[in-house]
């Protein structure tokens, strides 16, 4: 699913990274062909122009947690296609394809690990899985992750990469907004910190629920942050969109996030936050 190119904010069209990945990848921003290993070593940032490529959940986790500390806690769940939804293609087929190409059960990976020595429960969304959309499985995984964090009394870190609710699961996916917010309420009552990292994209129903309710909210450089998509806004209102609209820096200027952080600096930034909060939550 290619996303729109924006040289200034450095998000670029990329080939869907499916199954066997090519040895070389072309940067959509500058056209450079980059050796894949080199790209990975560079946090999937184009070494020529600095554009960001999408990260898979596993790549994101590898970039954030201390080596060999991640322990996956993703529940062994799949969507049961509750509406037996079909558009031009059955949802069941889309699910199967997404599972095969990503080797994920759905659009989020949950686990426990350390960041700069601090224990955290980490949930990372994966945009490759049907646009990182939140359906019943993602909702359940996130609620479960927050419960784990509340129980273990260690901070919860959520990395958002989601276009919103999973359309193919209808109102059941809409309800995941309330579900994740309810679980966040429990986490808050337990006094456990919740840090959200918004990446490209953080929009729709995910942004209008769990992703907006963190104690500390960081935006990765170039992240798209909002509720309605730019096209919907233009079609409904005919408004001209201001430059930088809904991008990370714009969000910061409008008071929507606590900071904008480069991909290279994200781990260090999280360590700073965890350092300052060290000892929180207070004992049992």
């Amino acid at each position: 699913m290619p996303i729109r190119k924006d040289s200034k904010d450095r998000y670029v069209e990329v080939e869907l990274r499916r199954g066997e990945e090519p040895l070389w990848m072309r940067c959509g921003a500058c056209g450079e062909l980059v050796f894949r290993r080199r790209l990975r070593e560079n946090n999937y940032i184009c070494p020529r122009c600095g554009a960001y490529f999408f990260l898979t959940a596993q790549e994101r986790i590898a970039a954030l947690v201390d080596p060999d500390t991640f322990q996956e806690l993703t529940l062994p769940l799949e969507s049961d296609d509750p509406l037996k939804f079909s558009d031009r293609k059955p949802y069941a087929d889309r699910l199967r394809e997404a599972r095969e190409s990503t080797e994920l059960s759905d659009a989020v990976v949950v686990g426990r690990g350390k960041i700069g020595g601090h224990e955290v429960v980490l949930a990372v969304m994966d945009f490759r899985f049907i646009g990182g959309s939140m359906g019943v499985v993602v909702g359940e995984q996130l609620a479960h992750a927050m419960e784990q964090a509340a129980e273990a009394r260690i901070p919860f870190v959520l990395v958002v990469a989601s276009g919103g609710a999973r359309v193919q699961e209808g109102v059941l996916s809409l309800l995941q907004m309330a579900k994740t917010v309810a679980a966040r309420g429990r986490l808050a009552r337990a006094g456990v910190p919740y840090i959200a990292v918004l990446t490209y994209p953080s929009t729709g129903g995910v942004m209008a629920s769990i992703a907006s309710l963190a104690d500390v909210t960081l935006a990765e450089q170039g992240a798209l942050i909002g509720f309605a998509g730019p096209r919907v806004i233009q079609q409904t209102t005919g408004e001209r969109l201001p430059p930088g609209f809904q991008r990370a820096r714009y969000a910061l200027e409008h008071g929507l996030v606590d900071g904008v952080v480069s991909r290279e600096g994200l781990r260090e930034e999280l360590i700073q936050v965890l350092d300052v909060l060290s000892g929180v939550p207070h004992g049992g």
Binding site: L77, P82, A165, Q168, V171, V181, T203, H254
Partner: protein
């Protein structure tokens, strides 16, 4: 089977005939009774086999009872509270204090307007951040005063606009959901017309969720789904069906607790009766909730939303 237009035409003819018979005194009572019976059967057949797209159209019917007028009929008195106390007052999302069944309650509702000017002023029920912030403010008032909260939902969705984004419409909706879920007072939501995505669930995270028979509740409009998934605006009727947005379907799925019947032809055929039916249902659910001890009520609410949608998951196969 008859379509909506044929039924409307038949209804008119039969009404004319009855008037004629009564005015002229012609003895055709028996024939007329048979004819009416036949008509009612046709009506029942038609309205009981409504497609989801038919319901979408009924939910959007310009004469459908809704907004301020309906809420004023459902409640015995209504005193509007205005403003978010931060610079704005949204006419699309309104609320205040009301009385119902002899007790004070808080109410929140979408208002779409009836005249074109009013519709423009309230953007046909698409609320702004200041609307959701007013809703949170009013929730805090009802919480302080220990009033049950009733919400009446009828919106195509939150307003998609540049300023709305700048003022964090997403966060305003999230705060609305969070505040509503944390209220100690009983909460009942009624979906009256369109329950459009985030703009709707902002007011629908209640202890009980009721739907009028032809109301819809959906993650995306059928047109939106058609455009995105079918790449074809004409696929809206199919999308409506696929989305499972109808009240009966959502009752099956456990999303709605009760479907409030509408008269044959839709709520607009009998606005008074519709208001009465809504009132009766709300009072009944409120009564049940008020019987429950606080702890249990909050536990039930939490587990309702904590477990929402779990019927749609299954153990991993791979």
């Amino acid at each position: 089977m008859a379509d909506e237009r044929t039924i409307r035409a038949l209804e008119e003819k039969v009404a004319e005939l009855r008037r004629l018979v009564e005015e002229e005194g012609v003895d055709l009572q028996e024939e007329l009774a048979l004819l009416e019976e036949r008509l009612q059967k046709l009506q029942r057949e038609y309205y009981q086999s409504l497609s989801d797209w038919d319901r979408v159209r009924l939910a959007r019917h310009p004469e459908r009872p809704r907004g301020l007028k309906l809420v004023s009929q459902v409640c015995d008195a209504f005193y509007e509270l205005r403003g978010d106390r931060m610079g704005g007052d949204d006419l699309a999302l309104r609320g205040g204090l009301a009385r119902l069944g002899g007790q004070p309650v808080g109410v929140l509702f979408h208002h779409r307007g009836s005249t074109p000017e009013e519709q423009r002023a309230c953007r046909s029920g698409m609320a702004l951040p200041c609307g959701y912030r007013k809703a949170v403010r009013i929730m805090r008032v009802v919480e302080r005063l220990r009033l049950p909260l009733l919400t009446f939902i009828d919106t195509p969705g939150a307003y998609p606009g540049v300023q709305a984004e700048e003022e964090n419409i997403a966060g305003a909706i999230a705060d609305c959901i969070a505040t509503m879920l944390e209220l100690a007072v009983p909460t009942v939501a009624v979906i009256l017309g369109e329950g459009g995505s985030g703009g709707a669930i902002a007011l629908a995270a209640a202890d009980r969720v009721l739907m009028l028979e032809n109301a819809t509740y959906t993650v995306i409009s059928p047109e939106g789904a058609a455009a995105i998934l079918w790449k074809d605006a004409a696929a809206a009727p199919q999308a409506a069906q696929a989305l499972g947005l109808s009240a009966p379907r959502l009752l099956e799925l456990g999303v709605a607790d009760e479907v409030i019947p509408e008269p044959l032809g839709g709520a607009h055929v009998d606005p008074e009766g519709t208001a009465q039916a809504v009132r009766e249902a709300v009072l009944r659910h409120l009564g049940e909730l008020q019987q429950l001890p606080l702890d249990e009520r909050l536990k039930l609410r939490y587990s309702r939303y904590r477990n929402a949608g779990n019927l749609g998951t299954k153990a991993k196969t791979g």
